[in-house]
């Protein structure tokens, strides 16, 4: 029986017909009681379970997933990992995530393929170069590895871009983060699931939460499609459906749900090494290790829970892509899909205890949740274990909407998530 993953174990299993591998995670029946329950088996929920068990030693816990793990936004995003943020509070949370990502494959013994090929955020005018400088300076002050790129620097990392001076969105330069890159999204969910399961966490799939058990003004458990589960500590990490669960718990959130579309081309030989984001076209693009051009764009116009692609948004995104990379006009679209994201007024996450005591929130990641998974898990685990914020999570509490202390990256830097 092979549990540890390595080149050696692959060779050993190769000689034995790959028959000795263990399930990556167990699928037990749910128990009646847990020390803590996490709703949502995406990256954030699974990471929360892992850190609760590993860091805090609380392993009598369950992750409840209504479908299959990693099937929500973890499996639908464009896989970019970066921490090039403007405000110190944002840098603290995304920087934590970025550092944890850098050690994640070894920590989980699961190759999440973090590929730090860098990311350039393009500037299309002198004014955008000035805002770029403002952003780079803020990042450098906050300890982020940001650099100001000239047009020649951009040409070096992304030669296929349109550098024509009369382009609709001419390239003046860009903001570069060398440590940014991509990771294999499914592997992040599976790696955390495997590691958490090995520490005793129960991962319960096809288990939909239908209601909360509220006694004495506190949350005491959940009703699910697989029976009643009691616990005094519940974490919720159900991006896209946060408002739906909040309604069941009797409160509202500062969230609208929108479909965020993405698509991939057919796989082609390497043509784009880095992640490129253009504020002019709104397009976010990289090339996967498999060779597909992975394309993300803006939100749909319509608040929605429908996880479907849409034609007008697709047309806009592809138009922007071909404006940036004219040679991609010879490629074909292979697959298009959408994920439902929590859109928050300041585009920053919400982490903290909810208005229902005993229920803790990890939501509101907008279009940028994937890159934050290790931090989201660490911080929600800390809240569940201690009941208290730490310095990193405190600014992201729900109370900021009353105090007005929003953390709007777009307001500060002109650069959205």
């Amino acid at each position: 029986m092979t549990r540890r993953y390595s080149a050696l174990s692959l060779i050993k299993e190769g000689l034995a017909g790959q028959k000795g591998w263990q399930p990556a995670w167990r699928s037990p029946e749910p128990k009646k009681n847990y020390d803590a329950v996490i709703i949502g088996g995406g990256g954030h929920g699974l990471a929360t379970a892992y850190y609760l068990a590993r860091t805090h030693g609380i392993s009598n816990i369950a992750v409840l997933e209504k479908g299959w793990i990693g099937g929500g936004n973890t499996g639908r995003n464009t896989t970019v990992v970066r921490s090039n943020y403007y405000y110190p509070e944002s840098v603290a949370i995304y920087g934590l995530a970025h550092r944890l990502y850098e050690g994640l494959s070894k920590e989980l013994n699961y190759n999440v393929m973090l590929s730090q090929r860098g990311m350039v955020f393009l500037c299309h005018s002198i004014g955008e170069m000035e805002i770029g400088a403002r952003t780079v300076n803020a990042m450098q002050i906050n300890g982020v590895d940001a650099e100001m790129f000239s047009v020649d620097d951009v040409r070096r990392v992304a030669p296929a871009l349109n550098f024509a001076p009369d382009a609709r969105y001419p390239v003046f330069g860009g903001v570069w983060q060398g440590r940014a890159g991509t990771a294999r999204h499914d592997a992040v969910a599976w790696g955390y699931a495997r590691a958490a399961s090995a520490l005793g966490v129960d991962i319960i799939q096809n288990c939909e939460v239908s209601d909360f058990i509220i006694e004495g003004g506190r949350c005491r458990g959940v009703q699910t499609s697989r029976g009643t589960i009691r616990t005094d500590r519940i974490g919720m990490a159900v991006a896209g459906h946060s408002s739906v669960l909040a309604a069941k718990a009797g409160f509202r959130l500062p969230i609208n749900s929108y479909a965020l579309q993405a698509c991939v081309s057919e796989p082609v030989k390497p043509i784009l090494d880095t992640v490129v984001l253009s504020p002019g076209t709104g397009v976010y693009v990289s090339q996967s290790d498999k060779g597909e051009i992975v394309i993300g764009g803006a939100l749909d116009r319509t608040p929605s829970y429908g996880q479907r692609g849409n034609l007008p948004t697709l047309e806009n995104v592809i138009s922007g892509l071909l404006e940036m990379f004219p040679a991609f006009g010879q490629l074909k679209l292979m697959r298009q899909w959408a994920g439902i994201v929590d859109v928050v007024p300041d585009s920053s996450p919400i982490i903290g205890e909810s208005p229902l005591p005993g229920l803790f929130l990890n939501c509101g990641w907008g279009t940028g949740g994937f890159k934050a998974i290790p931090a989201g898990g660490t911080l929600l685990a800390n809240l569940l274990a201690t009941g208290k914020h730490n310095d990193i999570s405190r600014p992201f509490d729900l109370d900021r909407f009353v105090t007005g202390r929003l953390l709007d990256e777009a307001a500060g830097s002109g650069i959205a998530h």
Binding site: H241, S243, V244, A247, R252, L253, P254, I255, N256, S257, R301, T302, P303, S304, Y305, G306, N310, L311, P312, P345, F401, V402, T403
Partner: protein, 89 residues
Amino acid sequence: MQLFHCPFCGQRDETEFHFGGEAGNIRPDGADVTSERWASYLYLRDNPKGAVREVWVHMTCGEFFVMARDSVSHHVASTTSLDCAEHAQ
């Protein structure tokens, strides 16, 4: 591409419309409104999955109206002109 029915112009492509907000989010006036009430007006939303009532604007004619639709299937149940009397203080 969805089709929305502007009460003034008729059936048009979704690209001509802009989402205004959830219907019935009444603005509290005055300096003595509590911070919580003000935050609720500014930020908190029902954001239901399924039947929704929303304010939309048809950008080409500039008219705001209320649309009842389904946030999952995107089926549009009805659109009605914004009743000014109802919304005026």
